[in-house]
């Protein structure tokens, strides 16, 4: 290990240090000052990590070829830090209300963020697996953080069991790849796979196992069953985080492995991904249609969004725009979906799980700003301009059509109509019904409102001027051009 190796992972080191610092601060300060300082420390550490990114020299490998720093890494590092900041800002009031240990929450989010950042560094099967585990294990803890809430326990247990199962499948797939190629580096695997070709039993087994393992992580239908319960039962700020960051990381892993290591087989598995994409978006949307609980509805809808992103993965034949579409959509989805879940925190009070549609009645009159932010996130998730969700869909439709998957493009369009129905129904309840007289009191948190306001503003601003973000995504996709 040399100095440049350390410098290469400076952002990761900073986030890890922040996580340790958070634990120390939590242990040493009394409750009240801890409540104030913990989020501040967390956010400052994450901002430091973002700022330290540019000091790292781009596009080189470190640690003897175990990791790589390229434009792709830089893009995702910033994204993960932004998501962690967002998840930190919306949490404090909720945590103290539900007496969830705040220090543990922030530290867990930070550790999970380090894991996600490790995934995007990976140029080796081992690194990527370590990153995946480092990301998901804290998320299991996050899901179960409300220790006295049985739904939270159920969420954690389900997520853990199925997560462990999928990790095992993935790892098994990795061992097959190692068996085929005799190496764990992506470059070596790619070479070996190219030599053996597609009509090879062992390659097929490895491919199937890896695909299924990653499909579990990204919540692709039919490997999505853990999602609704895990998202629904977890404490809402945790749900907001785990619905976006692990998904973004899963897609980073899919790009790294499927295009980086198994790219030579691409032509053959893109059809599988196209079918999975269609099934996933349709399945998620259809089930979301009938959910009376908004938190559960958003959980199913996040499955549908997996489908849209997967469509762009399937369209990888279109080249850089396809990978850029994945990155752009993941970014957009991160902000809008985290924001949408976080909006539920206003209503998600003691003893409730999320909010039912009826509890949202007249929300616009009770909290005009919160309702507006929620409406913006929902409209963006629907994909109506001028929001980032719309532009992201356009960027996906482009490569999908370009690679000849016209049927998939039509399915995406029709699915957006389905999604409009249930997303806009929430707007109906917020804006078009009167509040119930015995409606529970709303959470009043300036920090939450400020965070959501900023998120909603970003949703609209990037929706109107998306070019710089898209350019950045295109740059970040450069490592995948062959």
């Amino acid at each position: 290990m040399t100095g440049s190796d350390v410098l290469a992972v400076l952002p990761e080191i900073l986030v890890t240090a922040t996580a340790c610092l958070v634990l120390l601060v939590d242990a040493s300060l009394d409750r009240r000052s801890a409540r104030l300082w913990l989020p501040v420390v967390t956010v400052l550490g994450l901002i430091g990590a973002i700022l330290s990114g540019p000091f790292v020299i781009a596009s080189h490998t470190a640690f003897g070829g175990f990791i790589v720093i390229d434009t792709f890494t830089a893009f995702f590092r910033v994204l993960f830090c932004i998501l962690a900041i967002f998840a930190t800002v919306v949490a404090p009031e909720y945590l103290s209300r539900r007496s969830i240990p705040a220090g543990d929450y922030y530290a867990t989010v930070l550790f999970s963020t380090v894991g996600a950042m490790t995934i995007v560094l990976a140029t080796d099967l081992i690194t990527i697996f370590v990153g995946l585990e480092l990301m998901t294990i804290p998320v299991y803890v996050l899901a179960g953080m409300a220790r006295k809430d049985r739904y939270s326990n159920e969420a954690a247990l389900k997520y853990f069991l199925l997560g462990a199962f999928s990790s095992a499948l993935l790892l098994y797939g990795f061992t097959w790849l190692y068996g085929i190629s005799g190496t764990t580096s992506f470059v070596g695997v790619a070479d070996a796979v190219t030599k053996r070709g597609f009509n090879d039993g062992a390659t097929l087994v490895a491919l199937a196992l890896v695909t299924v393992g990653l499909a579990f992580k990204a919540a692709v239908v039919p490997f999505h069953q853990w999602t609704p319960d895990a998202y629904d039962g977890a404490p809402t700020p945790a749900t907001a985080f785990m619905s976006v960051a692990p998904k973004a990381a899963a897609f980073a892993a899919i790009l790294r492995i499927m295009i980086g290591a198994l790219g030579p087989l691409g032509l053959d598995w893109s059809a599988v991904f196209a079918v999975l994409a269609a099934v996933t978006m349709t399945g998620g949307n259809v089930v979301a249609l009938v959910q009376p609980n908004v938190k559960r509805m958003l959980a199913y809808s996040s499955i549908a969004h997996t489908g849209y992103i997967l469509a762009a993965v399937a369209a990888y034949k279109a080249g850089a725009p396809a990978s850029a579409a994945v990155l752009f959509y993941v970014f957009a989805y991160g902000i809008m979906n985290l924001g949408a879940f976080a909006c539920l925190i206003y209503i998600d009070l003691d003893g409730t799980r999320g909010a039912t549609l009826d509890e949202l009645n007249g929300f616009a009159r009770r909290n005009a700003g919160g309702a507006l932010a929620f409406a913006v996130f929902l409209i963006s998730l629907t994909g109506i301009p001028p929001t980032v969700g719309f532009v992201a869909k356009v960027f996906i439709l482009g490569p999908v059509l370009d690679s000849g998957l016209v049927w998939l493009a039509v399915i995406i369009a029709l699915n957006a109509v389905l999604a409009a129905f249930y997303y806009l129904r929430v707007v109906v309840h917020m804006y078009m019904y009167d509040p119930d007289t015995n409606a529970p009191r709303l959470l009043n948190s300036r920090l939450l409102s400020a965070g959501l306001g900023l998120g909603a503003l970003a949703t609209v601003v990037i929706g109107v001027v998306p070019d710089s973000l898209y350019r950045w995504a295109l740059q970040a996709a450069v490592p995948f051009i062959r």
Partner: protein, 506 residues
């Protein structure tokens, strides 16, 4: 005044700022909204004054890169068609906002006016956008404000109506989005792709027949739902019945026109082969819309529904005029759009006024109102006669030109103008039946005691109605200036749509 069109987009957005600041003060909200829409109206009239009549190409063009990595431009421009539709839009929005200050909206006035200003951005944008992507953004921008206007300030079944409206519209427009992206991909090689209409039209022939067949369908679905054409019209009566009066005025007056305009601006010139392929079906649907809309109007018991279904019939004339692909038909269709905007906007205004005073919309509950409301009867009468196409009023000119074009329609195979012309003319007769019958039942006969002491039009209502009345009469007796503005642009569009080299390619 280089950025006149951008100014049109910006004025309502700027108006939103004081609206948000003073949202708690009802008086201030009203003043800001009225002043903003008035300024917008003035700017649009300045634009009309700067327009060079007789030129077919786009004028006042502004074009800057917007999303360069995707080849998308912020490109605005007007031709003889949009230069008239934009002042119509700003006038109707002004009237809708002005009328709403009269007390018909009782809750959340600040949000209501904000929705109208946002809606205005989308509406004027649709008629100016020359980049397909920009057009789509404005097209969808109209959706959310109207969704809120119907859903929050609408009638008893507002939620059902507004969701139906949004889902129908979205279903069409999202397929159009797929079509737009397909156009983008087919427009050239990587790095050369564009969605700018002038550039796409500069080199025709880049889309092959099969491509045009499907993409035209995607565009046509979106526009046919928006217009609406039979059988995609079912959202319209619900939306109109539940919408507040001002919402109905703008919905019927402007939003429906976005469909007809879309056909003329994009679908026809870009896809001549697709147009030819779908022409017979679209003409059939247009004539069906004319007859069906008229027949269903005859049996309506609800005044607002009657006007809504009559819109279906009138829009049938618009599409018929567009798809007979000749000069008279095209000019007639554009005139019909304008006239329908003024006349049907006015009809919805008067039905709304009637409802405000009597709280009834069922024709059977009304009657004899002419005795107590001479002024109302006079205004309403003129608009009813204009709507049924009485010569001397504006409704006549548009329908007459469309019928003239239809009789001249002479396709290579299938039924020609001599079949469709008389069928469509039957719709004009039916219009007289339902309009006059309605007018007679509402305004004449014996009056109910309860209505005897109701006041006639208020000054505010008169102010709202007079500009529409003036235009109805003026365009009726002196349509030549409007035709002179429209003609060259229609001719240019038809030249693209009937480009022999392209159509023969098939």
């Amino acid at each position: 005044m280089d950025h006149l069109l951008t100014l049109l987009v910006l004025v309502p957005i700027v108006g939103l700022i004081p609206l948000v600041l003073f949202r708690r003060d009802v008086r201030a909200v009203k003043q800001v909204a009225v002043i903003t829409t008035f300024v917008e109206l003035v700017v649009s009239l300045v634009m009309l004054a700067q327009f060079h009549v007789g030129e077919a190409a786009f004028q006042l063009v502004e074009s800057i890169p917007w999303i360069p990595s995707f080849g998308i431009r912020y490109e605005l421009g007007v031709d003889g068609i949009s230069v008239l539709l934009i002042p119509m839009t700003t006038l109707l929005t002004f009237i809708a906002v002005l009328y709403s200050t009269g007390g018909s909206i009782k809750t959340r006035l600040g949000e209501y006016m904000a929705a109208f200003l946002l809606l205005e951005v989308g509406m004027v944008g649709v008629f100016m956008a020359l980049d397909l992507f920009l057009f789509y953004v404005f097209f969808e921008l109209m959706l959310v404000p109207m969704y809120l206007i119907i859903g929050i300030w609408g009638g008893p079944r507002k939620v059902y109506a507004t969701l139906k409206f949004v889902l129908f519209t979205l279903a069409g427009s999202l397929l159009m989005l797929v079509g737009i992206i397909a156009v983008y991909l087919a427009s050239g090689d990587v790095g050369n792709r564009t969605l700018s209409l002038p550039e796409l039209l500069a080199h025709p022939g880049r889309f092959n027949g099969n491509f045009q067949f499907w993409v035209f369908l995607a565009f046509a679905l979106a526009f046919a739902i928006k217009l609406p054409m039979v059988p995609f019209h079912t959202w319209l009566p619900d939306a109109h019945v539940e919408a507040p009066t001002a919402g109905s005025i703008v919905l019927a007056g402007v939003l429906l026109k976005a469909g007809g305009y879309g056909f003329l601006r994009f679908a026809l010139p870009l896809f001549p082969i697709g147009t030819q392929a779908w022409l017979p079906i679209l003409i059939l649907l247009s004539v069906v819309a004319i007859l069906y809309g008229a027949i269903v109007s005859v049996v309506q018991k609800d005044l607002k529904k009657l006007v809504a279904y009559s819109s279906v019939a009138h829009m049938g004339f618009v599409t018929l005029g567009i798809f007979v692909l000749n000069q008279q038909g095209g000019v007639g269709a554009v005139l019909q759009m304008l006239n329908h905007g003024f006349v049907t906007g006015a009809l919805f205004l008067f039905v709304g006024i009637l409802y405000e005073k009597t709280h009834r919309r069922q024709i059977a509950d009304l009657g004899g109102l002419a005795n107590t409301w001479p002024l109302y009867t006079a205004f309403f009468g003129v608009f009813v006669f204009a709507s049924l196409g009485l010569p001397g009023l504006n409704g006549f000119i548009g329908e007459f030109l469309v019928l003239l074009g239809t009789f001249k329609f002479d396709p290579a195979n299938g039924p020609g103008g001599l079949f469709w012309g008389p069928a469509a003319a039957l719709g004009v007769i039916l219009a007289a039946v339902y309009m006059l019958w309605m007018f007679q039942r509402v305004m004449y006969g014996t009056i109910r005691e309860a209505y005897r002491n109701l006041p006639d039009l208020t000054p505010l209502e008169v102010v709202c109605a007079v500009p529409l009345l003036v235009l109805t009469v003026l365009l009726g007796i002196f349509p030549q200036p409007a035709i002179a503005i429209i003609s060259p642009s229609v001719q240019r569009i038809l030249a693209f749509a009937t480009d022999a080299s392209q159509v023969v390619l098939k």
